[in-house]
């Protein structure tokens, strides 16, 4: 009996319905917080931070480039861990989170690559080079795309989830390569500006808005991951009683009136 009650939280955590209802209460607060932090960070970074002595104003692109890259990598961990939890404990909700994380990671990786290319033109004189960091980020984009396409490659949802999780786990090999690429192959991309082990090599006036943008992107990631997961829950549980009740209460008016 005791063992059962100890594991109850775990079962509840794995319940899509519980996740849907709990996150529904967080969404208003999370949306407002995300919007506020991102707007503050954008205005601060674009209009108030001083220009870089060497790069001029093009450096402002880091206010989206760095946070997007951070989340593209962190999001990969989230996707791979969700896939592993799904494989090990056969938790369906975990697979839904994995599926929800893939397109967000892909878009963030695209943003990192695109903003990097646009920044590279005035700074390096070229949009693209086959530098180690850039190439490994492109591989990350393909990994995300691979997990996404596997979700639609199978008739069985279960088989699709398992295949996606295995690809996500195998792909984690790429993550340390991305982190270390700037140190192992010192080509064109500069080494990390922000390190946990030392002070940032950046003036506080430039660094503070970057921190705000990173926080904003984390909030944004959480918001979109929740939104995507909720959609996925509805899609997979559409035949269940609680989703039917929800649909009727939300659009009861429309249903009665007819189309």
């Amino acid at each position: 009996m005791k063992v059962f009650s100890n594991w109850q939280w775990f079962h509840r955590l794995g319940s899509p319905r519980w996740f849907y209802q709990t996150t529904g209460r967080w969404l208003p607060w999370l949306s407002v917080a995300t919007l506020l932090v991102l707007i503050i960070g954008l205005v601060w970074g674009l209009a108030y931070a001083p220009a870089d002595a060497k790069q001029g104003n093009s450096f402002r692109i880091i206010y989206i480039h760095v946070p997007a890259s951070f989340l593209a990598l962190a999001g990969y961990y989230i996707m791979a861990i969700a896939g592993a939890v799904g494989l090990i404990w056969r938790m369906k909700l975990s697979f839904m989170v994995m599926k929800a994380a893939a397109p967000i990671g892909a878009v963030l990786t695209f943003i990192a690559l695109f903003t990097g290319a646009v920044w590279g033109k005035p700074t390096w004189g070229t949009y693209w080079v086959w530098d180690a960091r850039i190439t490994s980020m492109l591989i990350l984009l393909f990994l995300y795309a691979g997990v996404m396409s596997l979700q639609y490659a199978y008739h069985s949802v279960d088989a699709a989830s398992k295949a996606g999780a295995i690809l996500a786990l195998v792909g984690t090999v790429n993550i340390p390569i991305i982190y270390k690429s700037v140190d192992w192959w010192y080509t064109l991309h500069q080494p990390a500006t922000i390190k946990l082990t030392s002070a940032p090599s950046m003036h506080p006036d430039m660094f503070q808005p970057l921190l705000v943008m990173i926080l904003g992107f984390y909030l944004f990631y959480a918001l979109v991951l929740i939104l995507n997961t909720r959609s996925e829950i509805l899609r997979r549980e559409r035949k269940t009683g609680w989703v039917r009740e929800l649909a009727q209460s939300k659009s009861g008016f429309d249903a009665r009136a007819g189309d």
């Binding site: 220009a51 646009v118 944004f220």
Partner: protein
């Protein structure tokens, strides 16, 4: 503000096109990321409600079918 006026903010010392295009594409991508699941969520709920309505209509019609056939005879 770091810039003297709005025009300088737009020009960004010649880097304006790079900076603004990078930010515009990013914001468009982020907006799409938020809107896609919201639109999807709404469509799914509507879809489930329509299915329910159709089911109810079918049940109602099967219940009233004997009456219709009797009348037609």
């Amino acid at each position: 503000m770091y810039f003297n006026n709005l025009e300088q903010l737009m020009l960004m010392g010649g880097h304006g096109p790079y900076v603004w295009s990078a930010f515009a594409v990013t914001i468009a991508a982020l907006v799409w990321l938020v809107l896609a699941p919201i639109i999807n969520h709404r469509a799914l709920l509507k879809d489930v409600a329509r299915d329910l309505q159709r089911e109810q209509a079918r049940q109602a019609s099967t219940r009233s079918q004997p009456d219709i056939s009797e009348e037609s005879i």
